[in-house]
Amino acid sequence: METVLSINRLSKRYGKIQAVKELSIEVKKGQVFGILGPNGSGKTTTLSIILDLLKADDGEFKWFGEIPTKECRKRIGSVIESPNFFPYLTPVQNLKIVADIKDMDYGDIERVLTLTGLFERRNSKFKTYSFGMKQRLAIASALLGSPEVLILDEPTNGLDPQGIAQIRELILQVAAQGITIIIASHLLDEVQKICSHVAVLDKGKRLFSGEVKDVLAISDSFELSSSDMTGLEKAILQHPMYRSSEKNGNLLQVYFKGEINPGELNEFLHKNGILLNHLAERKRSLEQHFLELLQNNT
């Protein structure tokens, strides 16, 4: 598949703080790529570098397989940090400036304003907009002229639940058209709901990357106990989804790579000659899971 963006060993330092460290990411056409990490993990810095706002100390990146120029950026729609517009201009006037820079005509302005639900307020000045509307205008601006790539930095930050749902719906609609989307977010749940691929960042370093279903798979854990604990420990190793286990008093805590049905687990152990006298499922929240992902790598 065609590579849209390749980042190779990118590094950026602000004084003593290493914001991005030897980061490599590859985004292919049609992917909805999430860059997931806590605040200060280097997400916005990375996006700012690939959009030419910041200079990297080291490493390189390519857009569409080319050394990046301003012409590349015209093919990309982006929202970085806050929505940046002239407060005294209306959305239509602001979007005309965007269209001029991107060498487009003004024909698409009405469509993107309608798509983001701002058409009714198209002639109010930007400064009269609520935060949610400003955020939607930023997305409208990014969608102008149907770009090949959409870059969204924390697109639902600061929005109310209804606004969040609307924006996510919009992103999924855009993704369905085959537009490549790169989203930076600190919300695991958001990345899981929207993205197909993900890179997990912490302190500027990439911890994981791959398909969302592999990297963010929720591995449940079970507490097991049997009169034959040694046999149980042996037998559980044979389970195809087994990941790790630890002994907890007279209970065995077992982690799996994916979702497991307790009935099937019981049946599997029974077939291996183990009779359980205790079986309890321990679900973890997404947040716990995310923190574990980060912890395992520090």
Binding site: S48, L51, D52, L53, L54, K55, K70, E71, R73, K74, I76, S78, I80, E81, S82, N84, F85, F86, P87, Y88, L89, Q93, K96, I97, V98, D100, I101, K102, D103, S141
Partner: protein, 276 residues
């Protein structure tokens, strides 16, 4: 019209602050110039109280003196600072609203962004110079009652001199705007330097007790405002012993333009290195 200027006009067209400040400049510029004669004659009256031989009243709006006088009074620092502040606001706004970031993200290069601001400066300087030329001509015609045949030899050099003064002043504003990026700081420091710091340095340099030399003419602001050195008022020659200016010298045009070129170069270099 070219693309960058087109974008720049969109940014300005409905910007009230710009139109109010620029409008005030256009109101006060002619008022200032037309009050000059009154002020000078007031000064002459004051001098006459203490001298046995009274000085005659002056008339400064006749051809061909009107060209030099308009150029001189339009390029005093208190007047030039007005459009300079307008330029600073237009530049620092882009940092305040972070629209410079958005312009770059959308596909403008940093050099194009700087060029768009240089174009608006050039256009503003040309426009104001044209208005000044037309008003000087009308005022001259009104006072002299006859049209002036020495326009090309007398008028053009002084109007071009004013254009260089204004253009350089606006480039200094461009420099302050891009280097400081903050509206209050840029306006504050530009005003402080123009109205207080450089006059002090200049005063020290020309002071008979200290250096006594003419090097102060080569300071950035002074060189820009002294393209037209004196008003064409013969009485000043008698009172202050000044040599009257017959035309614009190449060196007086060259110095502020050289400063401008240097500042434009620094801004392009710094912007290419610095993060946004």
């Amino acid at each position: 019209m070219n693309k960058l200027l087109h974008i720049e006009f969109k940014k300005i067209l409905t910007y009230k602050t710009f139109w109010i400040l620029f409008g005030l400049y256009f109101v006060f510029l002619p008022i200032g110039i037309l009050l000059a004669e009154f002020m000078i004659n007031n000064m002459v009256d004051n001098i006459n109280k203490h001298t046995p031989i009274p000085l005659p009243h002056v008339a400064i709006y006749y051809f061909p003196d009107v060209w030099q006088n308009f150029a001189f009074f339009a390029s005093i620092r208190y007047v030039l600072i007005f459009p300079a502040i307008v330029i600073i606001i237009l530049i620092t706004n882009e940092f305040t609203f972070k629209t410079i970031r958005q312009n770059i993200i959308n596909g403008m290069s940093k050099a194009e962004f700087l060029r768009s601001k240089l174009q608006i400066i050039l256009l503003m300087a040309l426009f104001v110079s044209l208005i000044l030329t037309i008003s000087a001509f009308i005022v001259g015609l009104f006072h002299s009652g006859t049209s002036d045949i020495t326009f090309f030899s007398k008028g053009i050099p002084f109007m071009f001199g004013f254009f260089v003064s204004l253009f350089s002043f606006l480039i200094y504003a461009f420099f302050f705007g891009f280097m400081l990026r903050n509206t209050g700081l840029a306006i504050g420091l530009f005003t402080l330097y123009t109205l207080i710091i450089e006059p002090i340095i200049s005063g020290l340099l020309r002071s008979p007790l200290l250096f006594k030399n003419t090097i102060y003419n080569f300071l950035p602001i002074t060189s820009a405002i002294r393209v037209t050195e004196y008003p064409a008022v013969p009485v000043l020659k008698k009172v202050m012993g000044l040599e009257l200016q017959s035309g614009i010298s190449l060196i007086s045009l060259g110095v502020p333009l050289l400063y401008s070129a240097l500042m434009i170069g620094i801004v392009f270099w710094v912007m290419s290195k610095k993060d946004l």
